[in-house]
């Protein structure tokens, strides 16, 4: 049985169409991320699954049960909110125990479960603190423990990491994913951060203006984006506007590139180049045969730790090239360079598809 089925979901707020024809099926134990810019409807989908919003049209099945008219308190889901939403008048232990207290479970059972959960989120010893005495990362761990306390069938995470510092965010990212795999809990995660989506998910749903753009594994989304928007939103890319000839040759300014993956046969087209697909050398003799070649001048070199990103000006367009730090040969601003790429890499889309 599917853990969650959302079928043709529609939701508008006044004149704003927040979600249009959203359909998704989730397997049990799967981690699915809704990814998109703010206002793309991803949070509305999550809130409709939680029961906070009513669908205008469409059905939501939670483990086979039609749930459209079930109020949030009767749905078997747990949720973690962006701003933690811990009850400020209760201690950590009371917060975590809240759902069990509502169900009037015996005290000793509650105490045992709270202890287990605190250990799970590595906060043992803090049960008597109040939320305002905790750091952001600790608060979000408590919120996670509280959401897991009632053993929900589905866990909903609404941008749980976006209010945290970069360091804590990265750490918690890994922890949440490990915890999710350990418990095998079906999880629907909402974020606008592509890195979170790529690192944590089994599958990613990329959304824009309430419409699903693409559903796929992180690898599929990154390597084989379905349109320029997905390519632009997930990962870094350079875009070249040109013209396709016979589905094989891409003409950009006065350059001709051979390409193998084009969605256009003839006419105006947009080529997507990932910085990692591009290579850079000083002399033309080092370029492998059959590569597409461009000449340019380095305008900026930025060091990102494990990789170095070089901005190269080619015919008044800035193109990004990334290479592992250890392969970086010390190009500097102003150097004349040769950039090349294999015909296998670039994707070509029809021009009318917008990246924004």
């Amino acid at each position: 049985m599917k853990a969650l089925v959302v079928k043709d979901l529609h939701k508008s707020f006044g004149n704003v169409r927040a979600v249009v024809g959203f359909t998704l099926e989730m397997e049990e134990g799967e981690f699915v991320t809704l990814l998109g810019p703010s206002g793309c409807g991803k949070t509305t989908v999550l809130r409709t699954v939680a029961g906070f919003e009513k669908a205008d049209k469409g059905e939501i099945y939670i483990f086979g049960k039609l749930s459209n008219d079930i109020p949030p308190e009767k749905r078997d889901v747990g949720m973690v909110f962006q701003n933690y939403a811990l009850f400020p008048n209760m201690t950590v232990a009371q917060n975590i125990a809240f759902s069990m207290m509502i169900r009037k479970e015996p005290q000793d059972k509650i105490k045992k479960r709270v202890g287990e959960l605190l250990e799970l989120v590595q906060l043992s010893g803090l049960e008597n603190r109040y939320p305002h005495q905790l750091s952001g990362g600790q608060m979000q761990r408590v919120a996670l423990a509280r959401a897991l306390a009632k053993n929900p069938k589905i866990l909903l995470l609404d941008e749980p990491l976006s209010a945290l510092d970069a360091k804590v965010r990265q750490q918690l990212r890994g922890e949440i994913r490990k915890l999710q795999m350990k418990l095998g809990i079906t999880t629907l995660f909402v974020t606008h951060d592509q890195e979170e989506a790529l690192t944590m998910s089994d599958r990613i749903v990329v959304m824009k203006d309430g419409v699903i753009q693409q559903i796929g594994s992180p690898r599929q989304i990154y390597d084989d984006p379905i349109n320029p928007f997905v390519a632009h939103f997930v990962g870094t890319s350079s875009f070249l506007e040109g013209e396709m000839l016979d589905g094989k040759i891409f003409i950009w300014k006065d350059e001709r590139f051979e390409v193998r993956k084009s969605k256009v046969k003839n006419g105006k087209a947009l080529m997507v180049l990932r910085p990692t697909h591009l290579k850079m050398v000083k002399d033309e003799e080092n370029v492998p045969d059959g590569s597409n070649v461009m000449k340019g001048r380095v305008s900026l070199v930025t060091f990102l730790g494990s990789v170095v990103r070089v901005h190269v000006m080619i015919k008044e367009e800035e193109i990004l090239v990334e290479m592992p730090s250890e392969d970086f040969w010390g190009f500097k601003e102003g150097d004349e360079v040769i950039v090349y790429f294999s015909p296998d890499f670039p994707l070509v889309f029809p021009k009318e598809q917008n990246i924004q």
């Binding site: 029961g51 949030p72 889901v77 939403a85 809240f98 759902s99 509502i102 169900r103 306390a149 009632k150």
Partner: protein, 273 residues
């Protein structure tokens, strides 16, 4: 602390002391007069040191029936507060969370406060005559209720709006019904705010003069009305009046200390995020 900072600090304090004194002087003088005999009270130039007497307090309580007026004030202020707070809480909550009636209803509620009370007091008196509500404590309570509710609704609405919606949603998703979420989460968190609003309502009723003057009679007069009555044809009974004023202020001063504590507590709960 640097020298110039220190000097500014001293100047600031001198200014503050002067203004505090300007505000406090009449009150202090009233307190002083309340312990003086009429002879000393009217003496010019005034005497600062004299043997204090509590005769004014005894006289006003016994001769002028102030125990009764105190009771009246207390009954009216307390009952209108106790009735208005639950109504205002629920109304404010509905406005804040469900936007009941939209912006227009919110505005209408506050718009009732824009009429000067004096416009309403005569028609109200005529209506009260018909319903035999003049010179009754419940009549006065009803009028206070009507005039305090919009104000309290707005105060509490602002307070509820400050409580993140996610807190209730978190309670709902954890299995609480909407009523339970209100009672277990929203109510405890907003208790300081509700308490502050209650104290404010009490103070407004306690100090109200115009409606009390028109709608009450000798037996139902509240403190402000009774104090005004001390301006007699034989002149102002300054000793008694002072004693009455001091007694009228006392409960408010005590309440103000309470409200301060709750306001501070209310602010510290701002750390919800």
């Amino acid at each position: 602390m640097r020298k110039s900072e220190k000097r500014w600090n001293i100047i600031a304090h001198i200014i503050l002391i002067v203004f505090s004194f300007i505000i406090l002087a009449p009150i202090l003088w009233t307190i002083r007069t309340s312990f003086a005999t009429d002879v000393i009270a009217y003496e010019i130039p005034p005497r600062f040191f004299f043997k204090p007497t509590i005769k004014n307090y005894i006289n006003i309580l016994v001769e002028n029936n102030f125990i009764r007026h105190f009771k009246n004030s207390f009954v009216v202020s307390l009952s209108s507060t106790l009735i208005s707070i639950p109504i205002a809480s629920l109304a404010g909550y509905a406005f804040a969370r469900y936007n009941t009636g939209g912006e227009r209803l919110k505005f209408t509620v506050i718009a009732t406060q824009m009429l000067p009370p004096i416009v309403l007091v005569i028609p109200l008196f005529a209506i009260y005559m018909k319903f035999h509500l003049v010179n009754t404590l419940h009549g006065l309570t009803i009028s206070y209720l009507a005039f305090n509710l919009p104000f309290l609704i707005w105060i509490l609405m602002g307070f509820f709006e400050g409580i993140p919606k996610e807190l209730e949603e978190a309670a709902l998703i954890d299995g609480a019904t909407p009523l339970k979420a209100f009672l277990k989460i929203v109510f405890p968190i907003s208790a300081p705010g509700i308490m502050a609003a209650a104290v404010l309502s009490f103070i407004m009723c306690w100090n109200e003069f115009l409606f009390a003057l028109v709608l009450t009679g000798a037996s139902s007069a509240t403190i402000p009305v009774a104090l005004a009555a001390l301006q007699t044809q034989r002149g102002v009974l300054i000793g008694k009046l002072s004693a009455g004023v001091v007694m009228a202020i006392a409960p408010i001063v005590i309440l103000s200390l309470f409200i301060q504590k709750y306001l501070v507590k209310g602010l510290s709960f701002g750390a919800i995020k």
